[in-house]
Symmetry: C2
Subunit: 400 residues, 2 copies
Amino acid sequence: MGPGSKFLSAACLLFALAAHAAEPSGFGPLRGTGDLGIAVERASGSLQWLDTSKKTSLGRIEGLGDLSHASAVFSRDARYAFVFGRDGGLSKIDVLTGKIVKRVIQSGNAIGGAISQDGRFIAAANYTPGGVKIFSTETLELVADIPAVSQTTGGKPSKVVGIEDAPGNRFVFSLFDAGEIWLADLSENPAQPRITRYANIGREPYDALVTQDGRWYVAGLFGENGLAVLDLWNPEAGVKRVLGDYGRGEEKLPVYKMPHLETWAVAGNLAFIPGVGRHEVVVVDISSWQQVGTIAVAGQPVFVMAEPTGRRLWVNFAFPDYDTVQVIDVPSRQIVQTLKPGKAVLHMEFTPRGEQVWVSVRDANRIDIYDTQSFAKVGEIAAQEPSGIFFTARAHRLGL
Amino acid sequence: MGPGSKFLSAACLLFALAAHAAEPSGFGPLRGTGDLGIAVERASGSLQWLDTSKKTSLGRIEGLGDLSHASAVFSRDARYAFVFGRDGGLSKIDVLTGKIVKRVIQSGNAIGGAISQDGRFIAAANYTPGGVKIFSTETLELVADIPAVSQTTGGKPSKVVGIEDAPGNRFVFSLFDAGEIWLADLSENPAQPRITRYANIGREPYDALVTQDGRWYVAGLFGENGLAVLDLWNPEAGVKRVLGDYGRGEEKLPVYKMPHLETWAVAGNLAFIPGVGRHEVVVVDISSWQQVGTIAVAGQPVFVMAEPTGRRLWVNFAFPDYDTVQVIDVPSRQIVQTLKPGKAVLHMEFTPRGEQVWVSVRDANRIDIYDTQSFAKVGEIAAQEPSGIFFTARAHRLGL
């Protein structure tokens, strides 16, 4: 290129920036968005911006507030991440440019969110003042407010946990204080969601999941044993209590960290779930909701995550075993590998087709990348106290 | 914008085109690639370039040769489609720009292909001269040639069908003439794949699939009844023959079109597969490989496809019922909807989270878009005799 083209290049860059300001789609270097992601740096309120093909960071995205327990969902075009911060901040991040497109403080204290099946709406679950708020993914403008006020709590809004998307543009969530599960249907009028309430589902639901097929909404209970299950294929049947022995038990074992329920490992009809306060993974037959076995592991499991193939489970643990990851072979239910990435393995994320797993090692300020076949470490990325890792392929999955 | 900016805009476009020629990543209007796709226009050797968010065509991509029975896979960044033409053409399409990046004629007659788990390699299955060729996804340069010469066929290369990717950077495929299944492992040396051969798997395998968990490779047989099954979690156990009654049967029913096996509907342990020459969907328990039921339908099924939620199956049919689509409710196994989109429904593709299904109606020169909840038609796109529809989210799935 000659000096003329250099000048033109600079002019075009300016023009592109101006065009970017004028229209949100922007103009810039082209790339696909299928191999991008973010990792939460919770202490510094920032994100690492990740490229899974090159196994590298593309930079740091700053200014996201309190990111303790932060999570993210992605737009249906896999271009934007919506990050839910603990301080009620909801940030829309452009993973093509690494910029914050918009940021709103939507509550005083929040605990995650979800995106509707059609990609038009974001729902945020709030602790303070409680309730759920629905926003447009396009503008982050408020579309609907669901205070989650129940008779059980005498007209006070309830803390909301375990919010998940469900087929048919519905959101499902649990009311911690009220012990209820609510199903909000946005398919007719998003501004006035149709609410179905399920009361007396158990004391203090603290987290929940939807199975990957969008069928089962499962809430874990902090206040008693057992799980609350809603069959979204047949919601008229109501919420059932299952696995009455699952939980902290009569002895109230010391529980260092309540396990996460966002992603259950499901292979065929079997689900593999973290035991509460016990050094075991619990095997459940989903067709009958009966416990059919346990697998002894190195500590109290936090996440039990299946490789995309379902062949193996990767398990991390609560203190004091939080330096360890174990890998379980599903058919034999044997531990086939024990890794020691370092202190405070907080999260794991598989590449979409499962050839790698990315592991946050908080106190080492690293994200480690492992080959899932050989267990070899194939890369690492510097990150400030990383926690949750989220890749754009989540855009295409239900119940995340 | 003033006229000056218009001039600058035109100059920038020229510059961007020049930059595009210079570096493959290019420069242009930014957008995510998670909601893009292509539809094959087989008679005209072209593609419709699709946007599933706007429910629209972004244009036509021409010059792809003979696209009868064409199929496509996507790069791991969801930017490039690799289209396998019947004439042996392998085309790399940039779905961000709608351009053909590269095109090679890799054989005289081909029948589909696959992409490796890590996204580095494309495999094409060939009829003439037979065998499999492996290419770099980056450059489309030949990496390895597997002639598929077997003793059974006396040293002649075999036609290869049913090529699928499997975990661990492996490809699995079937030799039509030889009646064999081969497993090619590229994980150690991609230029010299390690081949495992399974002989006597049945006469004339004509198509195959890998279940979405990457576990089961299943080949349909044209020359006899039954299916050949390889457990990729335990390939040492060899190929087993299952479902001995499945197929054209003793009476050799008139079969208007052998059903496609690329995508089986799997819900829990149940698979729903097209009956051969019969007006039924066959229900198989994958844990035992036993037939456990049938569902009567309007004609000879071609594709039996599960919504991403697994809740419903959408079925299209061979001549003379090829104007019809039926929808089956999985829990009750009842037909809940019969649609008549028009003559020659050739393919269906769900949006990744299942809110819509896009249907090719060949003789009507249309792609119809249906809402999967209400069955309402929510859009249509003009297309010249459309057949296969492929969305970029396939980039993130195994066994496609």
